[in-house]
Symmetry: C5
């Protein structure tokens, strides 16, 4: 999975019937230091992430491993909203535990 | 999925039988700011997109998740025509709602 | 799918039994303007393309979506020989219709 | 598979139910000379790797080829902790055998 | 498939049970002119390639299309040892036929 920041939404009304009811987020990828990368993915979001949140996004057939997604033509899906990212024992994202 | 602009068509008569009747569009990819990228995909289009329209394109096994596509050797498919793209609450593509 | 030009062949006699009888072409990728890219794929060719022809090549599990290919360890296959490529209503490859 | 170094962890509490109980490591990729690359993957770890260890990580549907992973939306998984890497008969990682 | 040169081996003892008995080669990729690329893959080798040999390697689910590999978490596999590569009717690898 890659880490990504929710940047916006993509909407289309003329689409495959199997795309009906799928919320599509525009996600910009983040590198392992927490910096934005010039790379994005439009992904289904069954988790309910909000603008600017960091999420984990999968790609490929993994995007259809979710109840109700099995027969949708999806190749990217949000699987979690990220709380914390820790690199070399240093918290690079999320609240410090108190 | 990636965003892409319909740039043209690709036609071949000598092909696998399973490719018969598949309309193939030449799609040029668009970045998350709406700029064209030097990257393309030739994708099946069961949606009916027109030249210059923005579309969402999937890749991989997702391209066969459509009635009549299951046994075709496709690895890219148009899943929707894009109406609007919104980044950081700013509309970067599509009509402003009135 | 990507567009590619047939540049040559790859031959191996010591191989998996499931690779027996598969003709392997060396394909060099072409960009959306028709220029050769520094990128290639060795792909199975059940279509019968010849040297210098332009072809459409798929990748991934799509390469096994063909009678007799289902259990072969293939990840790239020629699906069509390209007759014409049209970008922005301009023919960039193939004969002008008369 | 790619070689990668364990750099940290990613934690999220709001996630798909199928992600429950999956330990996620932040892995930074290593090139064939043993140098760190500016590329990472967040992968499930059923092996139990520790910080700074070198691991082998797979991607794609291979990440679900493990008891208990089959229906999880994973696209990357640690498959082994690396003991030794040998290039051109030279040990580039791991203890010299005595 | 890509062409690659066998550069070495990767060994790990702490691993998924399904990785037991899989020989893993470190393969460095070769471009379509026969030059080494700064890119590698660690792949299962059921063919029996030796150091410095050129091989064909697949990636993705194709790596499990082999008797005994179906349930292993592999995403890359050697499918053949290359005898000859011919580009534009010029032999770039392998013995000239006499």
């Amino acid at each position: 999975m890659q880490m990504a920041k929710v940047r916006g939404t993509v909407v289309g009304t003329q689409k495959l019937r199997s795309m009906t009811g799928v919320k599509l987020l525009l996600l910009q990828f983040i590198d392992h230091n927490g910096e934005l990368l010039p790379k994005y993915e439009v992904a289904a979001d069954p988790v309910g992430a909000g603008l600017e949140e960091w999420v984990l996004v999968n790609r490929g057939s993994a995007a259809r491993q979710e109840e109700g997604h099995q027969n949708r033509p999806l190749d990217a899906m949000v699987v979690a909203i990220i709380d914390t990212v820790t690199v070399d024992n240093r918290r690079i994202y999320g609240e410090q535990q108190s």
